[in-house]
Subunit: 227 residues, 2 copies
């Protein structure tokens, strides 16, 4: 068991070095990079489709899409007007910095304002892998239940923003907004929660403002989260 | 990269040996073991609560509950009348055979008919770890979208049964039952799909029958899934 731990540590260290290289590439080009994480089906792709349509005339945006298999999501995002590079992990449970580094080569970063990374649908493993991003966004959704922040604390603790999607289903799913907000505050005080529905458009303006503000604040990286 | 792959292989082999030990313990005691996997919030715990209430007078049942953090789900299952041993993985993305082996020591297996293992909420990693179980159940839910079998093929390919939960939300989520069935058939022909709602009780009888049939068939392990 001790041996296993040593191996994992050395892998993480190599990965952190690659992530730092990515961060330097982003900053040299002046592109804001947002890493989106969630459970399968929480709505990351729909959020990016809406973002492409709403902000496409204001920012030059692109996406790196991570999926175990299929090009379903990459096609949807591209059809919404955002260029999208697909990484099929073939079973891999998260995106790593080496994969993102290779996918980046498809873009002229100098020509971009914002790059979105849609991570593999998994509320556990992606949180452990730094991709050099400026901000992390966790997308949660009401049908998953209001206690997910308490049950998956690492992803929420390392997030800079929580999008709570599918608020149109609050009543149909017995979801308590109050309980959800309490669980989030218990994990990380002052973590912003953006409550919205990608389906109805309710609350979407708050997300678009958050993205624009993050873009405006580029250069000021947030302080590292405490462990 | 080649080195990384070699390490993973040797870890899996040790894990497989432990899983084979577990399988022998289950069979010596004559207890049916079902390993439940899903995305966070698909409804594994609610399904087990319903199962405890519906089959509690017919079978002697117990549960091993895997969660990164909290005892929320373990308490719910115990309150529904099914003894439950909690494994908090502290960030670990799946249950492994060593953890299950230790949790098993809390039970007299000879006194059980059915043991449920509720795995960590993650549609990727748990599929790669054999816990010696007789059957694997993947729980999917309509709000996650109808293309999840195509996007997370490994979990579905290795499953013996798919429970599609939250069918009360089909209309509210634009979920296509026809598309879902097609994706499942594309991954593994003849994989049974049990469509139900743990909330309304619709379709629950089909699941209870499937569990009872699996219990009746104990001793006849299914043929290994093709890779």
């Amino acid at each position: 068991m001790a041996k296993r731990i040593r191996l994992d540590k050395s892998i993480v260290t190599a990965s952190d070095r690659l992530a730092a290289d990515l961060a330097r590439r982003y900053d040299a080009a002046g592109v804001l990079v947002l890493n989106l994480m969630s459970s399968p089906g929480a709505g990351k792709t729909t959020l990016l489709e809406q973002t492409a349509r709403a902000l496409g005339s204001r920012f030059r945006m692109a996406c790196i899409e991570g999926d175990l298999a299929t090009d379903h999501d990459a096609r949807r995002i591209a059809e919404a007007g955002m260029p999208c590079q697909l990484i099929n992990t073939g079973g891999g449970c998260h995106l790593n910095a080496a994969q993102v580094g290779r996918a980046l080569d498809a873009y002229r970063l100098d020509d971009l304002d914002i790059l979105f990374i849609e991570n593999v649908g998994n509320l556990v493993c992606p949180a452990a892998f730094d991709l050099g991003e400026h901000r992390r966004v966790v997308v949660s959704s009401t049908p998953e239940g209001d206690d997910k922040p308490a049950k998956y604390p690492v992803a929420f603790r390392l997030a800079d923003c929580v999008v709570l999607n599918k608020i149109d289903l609050v009543r149909a799913t017995d979801f308590s907004l109050e309980a959800f907000r309490g669980y989030v505050a218990g994990i990380k005080a002052d973590l912003p929660i953006l409550e919205l529905s990608c389906k109805t458009g309710d609350g979407l303006a708050g997300w678009l403002e958050w993205v624009a503000a993050a873009r405006a604040a580029l250069g000021r990286r947030p302080a590292p989260a405490e462990e």
